[in-house]
Amino acid sequence: MIDIQQLSKKYKGADDFSVVDLDLKIEEGEIFGILGPNGAGKTTLISMLCSLIKPSSGSFTINNLNYANNKRELKQLIGIVPQEYSLYPSLTAYENLFYFGSMYGLKGKQLNDKIYEYLEKFGLSSFSNKKIEFFSGGMKRRINLIASILHQPKILFLDEPTVGVDVQSKNVIIDHLKELNQNGTTILYTSHHLNEAEHFCTRVAIIDNGSVLVKGEPKYLIESCENTHNLEEVFIAFTGKELRDYA
């Protein structure tokens, strides 16, 4: 589904590469977690796959399509849930979803039904006519997610989708992501919540300094790494305990 080959990215003016010669294959139907400390290169990798930034070298294909020659088709295939709330604060939940759904080519009854279906699923139907600026963090996260899945993407990129939300909102989000995956959407997910990733992902890759350190099923990684009982201990074993401050 996603085939990444020797992908690298060095930002202008930066001393080091953010992503270095990264190779990765993600199969259809997977929930793949990309885990790493701050500055490891997670967001850069997702941004390249979503065609938001240009790789310095290497290549990737999604669903056997190369981005350079199939921009429109690829954009129609994917959905991205950004780390920030990427919504219009002065528009209502419905208006935001109507606009972003329309930009995916949805219209009329199909769009309307999808909007109300998801608002219902995510417990927001009574807030459809309220402006986003009055929403709590958890509600904004859910609308942020709905805006990316209205068009039933084949691949969904999630950049820290549950950061800063309460347990209830987190559970709703995770449950619906699982449902979406069962309905055929491949998920590529980054998070700092290792416990969440351990239970949510079918496979994970731990990356640091732009390279993959280890990858596999969470259960397998925990078993194969000495003296580890959960994914967080595996993560520490590979990335160390020192602080990762960067500017």
């Binding site: 065609s51 959905g79 920030e84 919504l87 528009l91 606009y99 972003f100």
Partner: protein
């Protein structure tokens, strides 16, 4: 098409919920146009109807100072206040308590009469007229100086017009004195021929006519197009802020992951903000036609030109939107977009001739003003409002405005594609 429609709907909602933006777009131009026209109209009235206090120190006390007083009285512009000393008058003017003072020098009448008589005698003797016996010998007369003091805060144009008025008045008195001297030398009896010292050459302003009626432009017809254009171009501030906000809110990044072109995104903004420009224009016209008369200002005459005026407003709006799109594409923060946009509009207005007519600018600025879209718009508005031309005559200006929109929009698209090339 549905994507464009959705973009238009979204832009419309964002606009109507942005009170600050709406204020900039509708309230500020209205305040601006009413204030400027009131000030300009009252300034004109203050010169023509109410009187400006004028200090005069009359050291002459002769017929010339009498003539000066008469001349000032007939102008009906000044309220004369007599002062005894030049020092007192100077201090009052330089402190700003009065705007101007005229100091009439001592013996001005006597010395001018003497000087003219000497000159007339000299001329007549050249033509063989004998001088009477006992005529005074020629004495040396020093030239006289009428001194003017102006409040330093007075504007250059006003100062020049006062100087020119006083100069004309003194020249007239001098001419009359020469006529009088000739008359006295050439005729002894009252009944004999006398010089007609009234002006022979006069001037009359011929104004354009429409349906056999003279078109007399008033301050509303000068102000409404100029300040409407200023307001229309001010749209670049809320438009660029709207675009920068999308970047900071992350919605622009989200849009980049959608299968939608930047041209479609800009298309939605162009249509909504162009409509806003036309709405602004409607408000301005309504103010000119209905509010101005209620405020005692001249009424804006839009008869038989409304269609052409809307065409000019539409194309001027397109040019303004193009500039706003470019600024919004390039700017990265509101701190960049807002002050730059506002300053740029003021600069465009200045070089476009909104404040000072282009023909009064230095040569270099006149050339530069040809590059200002506000100048093209203003010319087109004046062509329709004041010169009463047809569609074909304004076509060049409309073409330039459209070209400006196309070029700025194209640069925006190319810049965005290059910046976000993947």
């Amino acid at each position: 098409m549905h994507k464009l429609w959705a973009s238009i709907y979204k832009e419309f909602l964002l606009l109507i919920r942005d009170l600050g933006g709406l204020t900039i777009l509708f309230v500020m131009p209205i305040v601006l146009i009413v204030t400027i026209t009131l000030i300009q109209d009252s300034s004109f009235k203050s010169i023509s109807k109410s009187k400006i206090p004028l200090l005069i120190v009359d050291n002459d006390k002769g017929y010339i100072s009498e003539n000066i007083f008469e001349g000032i009285a007939t102008q009906n512009t000044f309220d004369v206040i007599l002062k005894e000393s030049e020092e007192e008058a100077r201090d009052l003017v330089f402190k700003g308590e009065f705007q101007l003072a005229i100091i009439i020098p001592e013996n001005l009448s006597k010395d001018l009469e003497l000087k003219i008589n000497q000159n007339v005698d000299g001329v007549l003797s050249e033509f063989g007229f004998e001088e009477e016996e006992g005529t005074d010998a020629i004495v040396e007369i020093t030239p006289k100086e009428v001194r003017l003091y102006f409040d330093p805060a007075i504007q250059y144009a006003f100062k020049e017009s006062i100087k020119s008025g006083i100069d004309q008045m003194i020249s007239k008195i001098e001419t009359r004195s020469i006529y009088k001297a000739f008359q006295e030398q050439l005729s002894d009896e009252e009944s004999q021929f006398s010089f007609d010292s009234e002006s022979f050459i006069s001037f009359k302003e011929i104004v354009p006519k429409l349906n056999d009626q003279e078109i007399l432009p008033n301050s509303a017809q000068h102000n409404v197009p100029a300040w409407t254009l200023f307001a229309i171009f001010f749209i670049i501030v809320p438009l660029s802020i709207n675009m920068v906000k999308e970047k900071s809110q992350g919605t622009f990044v989200r849009l980049r992951t959608h299968p939608v072109s930047y041209a479609t995104v800009l298309g939605g903004k162009t249509i909504v903000f162009s409509m806003v420009c036309l709405l602004q224009f409607v408000f301005m016209l309504l103010i000119g036609v209905y509010l101005f008369p209620a405020l005692g200002l001249p009424t804006l005459d839009v008869s038989e030109k409304i269609f052409l005026l809307f065409i000019v407003a539409f194309f001027a709006g397109l040019a303004a939107v193009g500039l706003g799109l470019l600024l919004g594409t390039i700017a990265n923060s509101q701190e960049q977009a807002a002050p730059f946009g506002a300053t740029f509009v003021v600069v465009l207005a200045a070089i476009g001739g909104v404040w000072v007519p282009v023909f009064m600018m230095p040569n270099f600025m006149q050339v530069l003003s040809n590059l200002s879209p506000m100048n093209w718009g203003l010319n087109a508005f004046y062509d329709v409002f004041l010169r009463n031309v047809g569609f074909l005559e304004i076509l060049p200006e409309l073409g330039l405005l459209l070209l400006f929109f196309l070029i700025t929009t194209l640069i925006s698209i190319v810049y965005n594609n290059k910046k976000n090339a993947v």
